[in-house]
Amino acid sequence: MNQVISVNQLGKDYATAAGTFVALKSVSLTIAQGEFVAIMGPSGSGKSTFMNLLGCLDYPTRGSYALDGVGVATLSSDALAALRNRVIGFVFQGFNLLPRLNARENVALPMLYKGASSAERARRADEMLVKVGLAGLGDRRPNQLSGGQQQRVAIARALCNAPRLILADEPTGNLDSHTSDEVMNLFTELNNTGITIVLVTHEPDIARYAKRLVRFKDGEMIYDGDPAGGLI
């Protein structure tokens, strides 16, 4: 099966005033095309560090990581930016939309860095808004949308460059349970079309939507398997 993420003995240290802090000890993991993985763990468990490494936003201290078959350790930051732009769609807990842009412009933003024409950007952005159930709301600014709608805009933005992988960092953290379910159903739909999804959450109810659960504790992976088994 096609490996989207292939991580081998990946580790990350941070230099602090008190000395070296080992955020991630040594994690090995592969995630195949089409998987839906939930990552859980208490704060300080290394799950955020792991997500940052998966998202190519940070360089590992040791170990190797191949994203979509490309080893990232030796890539320049510009090459990493291009890789993120092409392969990954990000969804954040705080939505992270640009307040002065309308929904369509927010969705189109990643295409800007791909070099798409403005007509192409607008057309594709509207298409993505339809896909996440926000048809006709392209002209609204983020502050004119509800939290759930804002997160849908963020998901549309993550989708616009047709990524193979969506990395979602607590995507339902700022949403009520009803809206959370809607967003999770959207993720499930996207997963059914073949997009690989990795999401961080601390809510067991959310993790149940995933097909595979990974738990972190103290910088180590302590569980990797069926969600039902890890959520006792």
Binding site: S77, D78, A81, A82, R84, N85, F90, P110, Y113
Partner: protein, 407 residues
């Protein structure tokens, strides 16, 4: 990322903060307007001086005769009749001399019909007009033959024509100078004011011999007040000055240790001095004005730094979704350059308008040349790049993880 899309992004950010962008621009507007205005005033003064100098004639010397002493009172240069027509002829034979024109000036009242006008009467040879670079507006100059024959012919300056004739054509008419009739053969081209503010058109020019014998009779026939000398080039002027001194001392039989009975002055050097004073003034004005341009640039840097800090999260998002360093750098740099160029455009408009107002209201000569506008534009673009680069670089080098976490 294509440049037009990037420009659109920058423009959106400028528009999103209209008031702040405008106030930032204001620094540039004032700076550029001040530079354009000051340079225009400087250039105006410069070109006025240059015009006056070229009206005076180039590479000029004036040789003045010495002073008399009358009853213990020394009378000043030009009062002793030491310079002769023959001295002028001898100077003209020196190398590197374009022309040497003897001049015998005086003042007299001129009369035509019912009008009279007191003016200066200058007795010269035709060479004088050549040396002064003076041409005729209408009619013809008198000739060497007129000088030899001490003919009663006159050339009138524009001011004299206006006062004696009004709208009438003076050519061929007879005027009276000190009761003697003179035929007007030509009208001189207007020269305007001299460096010291004299009206150079308030003059009647007659043959030098006529002035000596028929107007300002003296007990020293053949003497002249001064001689105008034109050298062939500016480079030849020091040598010419030395040779004239040697020649005249020999002709006047002056011992090596005695004071000369004449004075040679380099008029062009004096004119050049006042021209360079004006030039320095215009540089100083420009330099002072450009300080405000730098202050405007610092204003841009200040606001861009605030803007980068405020938009830390936005920068983090952009980097995460695929913006490269240079995309972020260019976005913020373009913002700074756009602000400074728009400010510059408005500033040039205000500066040119201000220059026009100064000319209209204060009567100052101003001159806006394309050079000034080009200079203001390139300096403003430079200021935008220079002061925009540091904040833009700071944005580009942000760590996306920290930037995304920024509240």
């Amino acid at each position: 990322m294509n440049p037009i899309a990037m420009l659109a992004e920058s423009w959106r950010a400028i528009i999103a903060n209209r008031m702040r962008s405008f106030l930032t621009m204001l620094g540039m507007i004032i700076g550029v307007a001040a530079v354009v205005l000051m340079l225009a005033v400087g250039q105006g003064a410069q070109s006025a001086i240059d015009e006056t100098i070229s009206a005076m004639g180039s590479n000029l010397f004036i040789v003045l005769s010495g002073a008399t002493t009358s009853g213990g009172q020394r009378m000043g240069l030009g009062t002793a009749p030491t310079l002769k027509m023959a001295d002028a002829a001898a100077i003209a034979d020196l190398p590197n001399i374009e022309a040497a024109a003897p001049v015998q000036p005086g003042t007299a009242t001129t009369v035509y019909a019912g009008n009279n006008w007191s003016t200066s009467i200058t007795g010269v040879t035709p060479d004088y007009l050549r040396v002064r670079n003076w041409s005729m507006a209408t009619g013809f100059a008198f000739t060497d033959a007129d000088v030899r024959g001490a003919a009663r012919v006159a050339l009138l300056g524009k001011t004299v024509v206006d006062n004696l004739f009004g709208d009438e054509n003076p050519i061929g008419k007879t005027i009276r100078i000190k009761q003697s009739p003179f035929t007007v053969v030509g009208v001189l081209e207007s020269k305007g004011q001299s460096l010291d503010g004299r009206d150079q058109d308030d003059v009647v020019i007659v043959p030098v011999t006529t002035a000596q014998r028929k107007l300002f009779g003296s007990q020293f026939p053949g003497s002249v007040k001064f001689i105008m000398v034109q050298a062939t080039s500016a480079e030849a002027m020091p040598a010419v000055e030395k040779e004239m001194n040697v020649l005249l001392r020999a002709r006047h039989r002056i011992a090596d240790d005695a004071d000369a009975d004449f004075t040679v002055r380099n008029l062009s050097a004096m004119a050049e001095a006042s021209a360079s004073a004006t030039r320095i003034m215009s540089y100083v004005l420009g330099a002072i004005a450009s300080i405000s341009l730098i202050v405007g640039g610092i204003g841009i840097m200040n606001i861009m730094l605030v803007s980068v800090t405020e938009r830390t999260r936005e920068i983090g998002i952009r980097i995460a979704i695929g913006a490269r360093h240079r995309d972020i750098l260019l976005q913020f740099l373009l913002e700074a350059i756009t602000i400074s160029l728009i400010g510059c455009l408005i500033g040039v408009g205000l500066g040119v308008g201000g220059a026009w107002a100064v000319q209209k209201l204060a009567g100052f000569p101003v001159l806006v040349t394309p050079d000034i506008v080009l200079l203001a534009f390139s300096v403003a673009a430079g200021v935008g790049i220079f002061f925009g680069f540091y904040p833009a670089r700071r944005a580009a080098l942000m760590n996306p993880i920290d930037a995304l976490r920024y509240q």
